[in-house]
Symmetry: C2
Subunit: 227 residues, 2 copies
């Protein structure tokens, strides 16, 4: 059981690392770094298979019940989300390779992607942490970071749709897809958080629950500026 | 166990129907039909929850082994894919609503989306059929339809990237995202097919396996024109 949790945590760590490097490669048109992400993607896929096999053998050999059963079932669902996070980082790396030696992004939107990348990396690290600690309050905070990602994504679209956009359609298509990859990466992290909350509380939180939980967390948190 | 399979089949049927209607709404800027898809999406989400609960209670109460265990584990994975197919149909319907009374698509690309919609609907129906029959040869043929989808998607991008594209960046962004939704819908159908093949054969097929299997199927098939 611990082994499955460790494998999932390791996988989340690798997906986060892949997105960190893919973002850096994207922003700096760094082909070597993009190739590293692409070359190391198999590690995530292998871990994914290992997780599935581990979950299956736990069910087959131990027929777990109650909380343990919930852990294994959630594990099976979580592995699919982390696998997808890795695949989205791979897509970013491949876009960088496709346009090399050119930059994929017009300079105008670099700031958006630097920030979306920062949030994605933070979400990857949080996902790993949550899988290890099973802290439902931390899991609920993922939703907050996801909202920050959604905001950036929306702003990015207003930049794209602006009549002043002067980088052409091809760049707009790239920016649209890349923006989507970051947004989906965040969605999957939130989904992992929901699953962990389910694990601990036995209930899958809705968006409403997230909002309520966040308000509670916000009230509990002493912000640095309040001290 | 049969109940879980039935629920999954029903869910696949609804996801296929949603994509069929969403495509029609998209092509005809039919707001009422788009609203139907949006309004009925909850049915798919509800079935998704029912499937997860059913799978969990099967594991908890029956501690299935061997083939039955594999069925339940695959069911847990498959429900996530079908859920996503429904969500992608929902995205198409929402794009139609967002631009109404305008058409989302420039007329130039209508043909692509009509054809991608046709393939998506066929994939939805095939997914339902495969869940019911567990026919691995039929599941392998999903891959072929997915390749047809990928080809269309690639062509669509060459149209977008063409210097002659005269519909502006906003339309290009819509077309990019919509194209991606159809492509992902197909990917999820293929993933369900892979899971069913795993169920029957105990082995997850790779892309290589798919190709080999298809060649075998092609050899076995007597085409109408050969008769």
């Amino acid at each position: 059981m611990t082994e499955l949790a460790d494998l999932l945590g390791e996988m989340a760590g690798l997906a986060g690392l892949a997105m960190e490097r893919a973002t850096q490669a994207l922003l700096q048109a760094d082909l070597a770094l993009a190739e590293t992400v692409i070359g190391e993607h198999d590690k995530i896929t292998d871990l994914s298979t290992q997780c599935e096999e581990k979950a299956f053998s736990l069910l087959a050999l131990q027929a777990p019940v109650a909380g343990d059963l919930r852990s294994v079932v959630s594990g099976i669902q979580i592995v699919a989300d982390i696998d997808r996070m890795g695949a989205l980082a791979l897509h970013v790396a491949k876009a960088t390779r496709r346009r090399h030696p050119n930059h994929v992004l017009p300079e105008e939107v670099n700031g958006y992607f630097a920030e979306m990348g920062r949030i994605a990396v933070s979400l990857g690290a949080a996902t790993k942490e949550i899988l290890e600690t099973r802290d439902p309050e931390r899991a609920a905070r993922l939703h907050q970071e996801d909202e920050a990602m959604d905001d950036l994504h929306r702003h990015l679209f207003t930049v794209l749709m602006d009549r002043e956009w002067k980088h052409g359609v091809a760049a707009a298509v790239d920016v649209t897809l890349l923006g989507r990859f970051y947004e989906r990466f965040a969605d999957h992290a939130v989904e992992v958080g929901r699953r962990v909350i389910f694990l601990v509380t036995g209930k899958l939180p809705t968006d409403e629950d997230f909002r309520a939980m966040r308000e509670r967390v916000d009230k509990l948190t002493v912000y640095p500026q309040d001290q």
